[in-house]
């Protein structure tokens, strides 16, 4: 505990970061660090706004601060206010900046025709329209209203199932709860039952 105090108290000498993170004041708008410019002449995040975020890797849920300048992410580090991690991070969390700012990211839609040997760059809207069309096609062709099959004791039964067994969706544990909600809702709404995520592996 003593160590944590000294870590924080040093911070408080300037209260540079704390000003932003204290008391939940950082919500949607982020925090303006401009007021501290005089104290931070050498600091590369001096003009940045800090947004509280959460590390996207494991499930410990470490708080991070994302510093943004002119719409660009310039720094990501641990949030000292978070009781989960008290400003610390593991190497993955510490590398979150490079998860965002990375020339290896693909920033356009890639599409591959059946049998093709190369990707083709597609317009986003075109891809979304095509995906919707494919979902509808598959659903309409494979939708099952009444299902007949064996129960666990081998008796043949017939039931109303209203499902779409030919679509499978996988993933979710790395995405927000809000995505999980609308995605499972859309899928179940369409009758999709093969809905899975990483909790299974």
């Amino acid at each position: 505990m003593a160590v944590r105090t000294s870590r924080r108290s040093f911070l408080k000498q300037s209260s540079l970061l704390m000003a932003g993170t204290a008391a939940g004041s950082l919500t949607a708008l982020g925090v303006d660090l401009n007021t501290r410019r005089a104290m931070a002449t050498e600091l590369r995040i001096r003009d940045a706004q800090a947004y509280p975020s959460i590390c996207p890797y494991c499930a410990v849920g470490c708080g991070t601060l994302i510093h943004v300048e002119d719409g660009q992410i310039v720094n990501i580090e641990g949030n000292p206010e978070s009781p989960v991690n008290v400003g610390t991070l593991c190497p993955k969390g510490a590398a979150t900046f490079q998860l965002h700012v990375n020339p290896n990211r693909i920033t356009h839609v890639l599409h591959r025709d059946p049998g093709a040997t190369d990707w083709e760059v597609w317009d986003l809207d075109r891809a979304m329209d095509r995906i919707a069309e494919l979902v509808k096609e598959t659903r309409d062709e494979t939708f099952v209203e009444e299902w007949t099959g064996p129960d666990d004791e081998g008796n043949e039964i017939t039931k109303t199932v209203n499902y779409t067994p030919a679509i499978f969706t996988l993933g979710g544990a790395t995405m927000a709860n809000e995505w999980n909600h609308i995605h499972q809702k859309l899928m179940r709404g369409l009758g999709v039952v093969a809905i899975e995520n990483q909790a299974r592996i």
């Binding site: 990211r105 049998g115 209203n162």
Partner: protein
């Protein structure tokens, strides 16, 4: 424990006196949570690492106990035997708070009686896609006179039913059930009479305690050593440390992760730890508990808000054609547990249906029950991949997950070649996106891209800082991450993708009058920003309002949508409330208060549970079942372990946390033998979700493979089971299909035990780390970790190439030779165990062959998680 989540939070570990880390390599995989372990250790706590490999966790432990992969139940069972035989259990806790005293059905037969199986074993006659050869009829596992099977349906109700009739079809019992709303009469109808029969002396030979004692009596220290390879002295050292630190003034915690889930008996491993912790009185108390260390940012959230086939929101079973779920009433009759908090299920379920179909879900149409799909068996990851391999799946959304290098990768990639269309959405181009041109079988010419008729989309994804939303961490804390900047180019948030897809599909189906489409057309979809509310600081159009989504999860009054629900106590079963997830109810109690954005931690040095930081489901309770932190009279067990207690003057429970209990129910309140819900529990029954209010040492319902954990050998193992002639878990899930062959026990062609694992420096299949130079350089290449002895035997040098093979696949990797790994003596013979990280694949800044090309589609019968933590392989030098 009835809740599917960690019972406590990581910081609470700093209050532990002994921490056993088994089935987890916490220092490496949850380094930041491990800070609290270090803090405990500095305070004098004993840290124990039980692991096949000496890991970075072991390096920080006071005691390192090596064990063979897959032998954890033998180790834990040995501890249980030690605790019982030496009278080291916490008697007051055990008698009052667990089902130790409960009398079990006289027809129950244990593994002791039947040489490794329980009574009720039957051949499985259902669809092969379910992966079962056998199944259990659980009738004989029940409490005497108080069946909790099938939500309390009386055992004799089954007898009245025509024997030829399927369980899946309702029958008379269901027809006579009262309807609703309100569903109170229905709950009354299914409530069994009276209360469970008890023998608080724990001497009745049919009481749980005696059954448990007999069951584990053969798990002696000698047997532990024989099965696990852990030297007897080391095992006893662990047993002593654990029991010395489990009493009214001391608590011990267990930490586990997927090394306890990725087995053919994974749920039983966790159950075994729960059993042990209950015997020691370590659940619901500060510094105690079982800490599930989950591995993805919101893997807890994606289980709570289930993108999982078997469950709908809030841990309710997904409606199934194989159960009597023909109507919502039938579902309730079958699933409801009328005693305990689950008696409120009608409110949870009707409110969920309202969240799906809004005003279209009415009492008249059974809340839209027919529109909601029903499952017809196993649609889990493995089963779905088998379906895909059979050509039954045409379309596949693969978002933020990478099956091409997970679970028998070669099999899964072959299955994907049968797809008509595939949509991959991720931050980087994954192995799954590139399976048609970059996979090993394509690169080596075995398969030609021209022969793969799959239309593939790669939708580039926003990263966490480029979208707003909430994650639920491993301790159930729901925390919001703010959007800080727009994503580059056409990268889009996950919510954007699904919302935009939904809007397009809604438009495509808008004019349909096909009955198939009625449900979809009635699906409530109201996530666009309100007029004038769309954010101005973005160039991206068409994002949904993520707080509106959270509002739907939280719930609101249907006749007054601006009034949010403030907690699950407000839920109704008559359609007046809508709430997707009852367990999240209260996370967003009014339009101006999104509690996931709460950022007020407790002041330093103050004992507390950070009530002002984030929201912890349920109802901001941080330690589950925390009523157990007080004795039956409501006083703290000791000053040192004070957490929640009864304040006689105020007439309520109080403490450092939100009481996980009826706040005004006094400790001496008696259980009502006719009562519904929590009325059926006394004031000293802390386990409010359980039918009898007790922590279950013995599980009469809920496990498909037995009421008590039992050591079985893994699907692949170097030896036969020394305990019983029943070798493997009889209820293993396994798909007998090409490309998924298993190694028989004792096969000399595959003599080495292998376990897979993560490294600190990487994540999952490597998509989020192997594209990052900063992480790539820290662990650049795939390796197999092996002992010096094995390397010498095989003629393999450190960093030399070798080939690791199973019947499913073969990979070429470098050897990392180290004395941290050691040969074990198992059942009298030397057994070598090796380890492989599973982070590599063929895409990325650094690439390598995938450990999961070796694994099989075989797994746990309860949750269908594959067995990657213990299987067999062969290794040869391959320089």
């Amino acid at each position: 424990m009835g809740r599917g989540a960690a019972t406590t939070f990581a910081e609470d570990l700093s209050r532990s006196d002994c921490i056993v880390i088994q089935g987890s390599n916490m220092a490496e995989n949850h380094p930041v949570a491990f800070r609290w372990v270090i803090e405990a250790r500095k305070r004098g706590a004993t840290v124990i690492s039980v692991d096949p490999r000496f890991t970075r966790t072991s390096a920080m432990a006071n005691i390192y106990a090596p064990i063979r992969p897959g032998s954890d139940i033998a180790f834990l069972g040995g501890l249980i035997n030690y605790v019982i035989e030496n009278d080291l259990y916490f008697r007051d806790y055990v008698v009052n708070y667990t089902n130790a005293a409960t009398i079990i059905n006289e027809d129950f037969e244990d593994t002791e009686d039947l040489d490794g199986v329980f009574s009720g074993l039957l051949e499985f006659e259902g669809e092969p896609i379910n992966g079962f050869e056998y199944t259990y009829d659980k009738e004989t596992w029940q409490y005497e006179g108080f069946p909790v099977n099938r939500g309390g349906r009386q055992a004799d109700a089954d007898v009245e039913q025509n024997d030829d009739e399927s369980d899946a079809i309702g029958g008379e019992y269901f027809e006579q059930a009262p309807g609703g709303p309100p569903y109170d009469d229905l709950v009354e109808y299914v409530r069994p009479d009276g209360l469970p029969e008890l023998d608080e002396s724990l001497e009745d030979e049919r009481c749980v305690f005696q059954i448990i004692r007999r069951h584990f009596s053969r798990y002696t220290p000698e047997m532990v050593e024989r099965i696990t390879g852990c030297p007897r002295d080391k095992f006893l050292e662990v047993a002593e440390a654990l029991t010395d630190n489990s009493n009214p003034s001391r608590t011990s915690a267990f930490c586990y992760a997927v090394a306890w889930t990725q087995h053919t008996k994974g749920v039983q491993m966790i159950g075994c730890a729960a059993l042990l912790q209950l015997l020691l009185g370590n659940i619901g108390r500060p510094g105690g508990g079982i800490v599930a260390l989950r591995g993805h940012a919101t893997i807890q959230g994606s289980t709570d808000v289930p993108t999982l086939y078997h469950s709908i929101h809030g841990y309710m079973d997904h409606p199934s054609a194989l159960e009597p779920h023909e109507t919502l009433e039938n579902y309730l009759v079958n699933e409801i547990q009328p005693t305990g908090y689950w008696a409120n299920m009608p409110k949870f379920l009707v409110s969920y249906m309202k969240s799906m179909y809004g005003e279209h879900a009415t009492e008249e149409n059974g809340w839209g029950w027919d529109w909601h799909p029903k499952i017809t068996g196993d649609f889990s990851h493995m089963a779905s991949m088998v379906r895909m391999a059979r050509g039954e799946i045409e379309g596949f959304f693969c978002m933020g997950q990478n099956p091409a290098t997970s679970l028998n990768g070669k099999f899964e990639r072959a299955a994907m070649r049968n797809l008509k269309w595939l949509v991959v959405k991720d931050i980087f181009e994954t192995e799954s996106a590139a399976f048609w041109y970059a996979a090993p079988e394509v690169q080596n010419g075995e398969i030609s891209p021209e022969d793969i008729d799959t239309e593939v989309f790669f939708i580039p994804s926003a990263a966490v800082g480029e979208m707003g939303g909430s994650f639920t961490n491993t301790q159930r804390w729901v925390q919001w991450h703010e959007k800080s900047a727009d994503p580059p180019g056409d990268c889009r948030s996950d919510e954007w993708f699904t919302h935009q897809l939904a809007l397009r599909l809604k438009a495509l189906y808008e004019d349909s009058d096909n009955p198939h489409d009625e449900g979809f057309n009635n699906l409530l979809w109201d996530f666009d920003y309100d007029e004038g509310e769309y954010p101005e600081d973005t160039r991206i159009e068409g994002e949904p309002d993520t707080e509106k989504i959270l509002k739907e999860i939280n719930g609101y009054w249907t006749d007054d949508p601006d009034t949010h629900l403030t907690g699950f106590a407000e839920l109704e079963d008559d359609g007046s409330t809508t709430c997707a997830s009852w367990i999240y109810c209260g996370v967003f109690p009014n339009p101006d208060e999104n509690k996931t954005r709460n950022r007020e931690p407790d002041p330093e040095g103050e004992i507390g549970s950070h009530q002002g930081w984030a929201f912890s489901w349920p109802d901001n309770r941080r330690i589950l079942y925390n009523r157990a932190s007080a004795d039956p009279d409501g006083n703290p067990w000791s000053e040192e372990k004070r957490w929640v207690w009864w304040d006689e003057d105020a007439g309520e429970w109080t403490g450092y946390d939100v009481p996980d209990f009826d706040v005004t129910k006094p400790p001496d309140a008696e259980a009502d033998p006719e009562g519904i819900g929590l009325d059926a529990h006394s004031g000293s029954d802390p386990f409010i979700m359980m039918a009898d209010g007790k922590g279950w040492l013995y599980t009469p319902n809920g496990m498909v493979d037995g009421p008590i954990p039992t050591h079985y050998e893994s699907a692949e193992a170097p030896i036969r089971n020394p305990l019983y002639s029943q070798d493997k878990n009889p209820i293993t899930k396994y798909w007998r299909t090409d490309g998924n062959e298993l190694i028989q026990h004792g096969d000399r062609d595959y003599p080495f035990v292998v376990t897979t694992y993560r490294l600190t420096e990487h994540h999952l299949s490597g998509v989020m780390t192997r594209w990052l130079p900063w992480l790539a350089e820290l662990q650049p290449e795939m390796f197999v970790e092996m002992s010096e002895e094995l390397a010498n035997t095989l003629g393999i040098r450190n960093t030399g190439w070798c080939r690791v093979s199973t019947p499913r696949g073969s990979i070429r990797v470098k050897a990392l030779v180290t004395r941290r790994l050691q040969p074990l003596i198992i059942d009298g013979n030397i057994v070598h165990c090796v380890g492989m990280p599973f982070h590599w694949g063929y895409m990325g800044v650094v690439t390598g062959e995938a450990a999961n090309d070796l694994t099989a589609l075989v797994g746990d019968p309860n949750v269908a998680i594959h067995e990657a933590k213990a299987f067999m392989c062969n290794i040869e030098p391959d320089d």
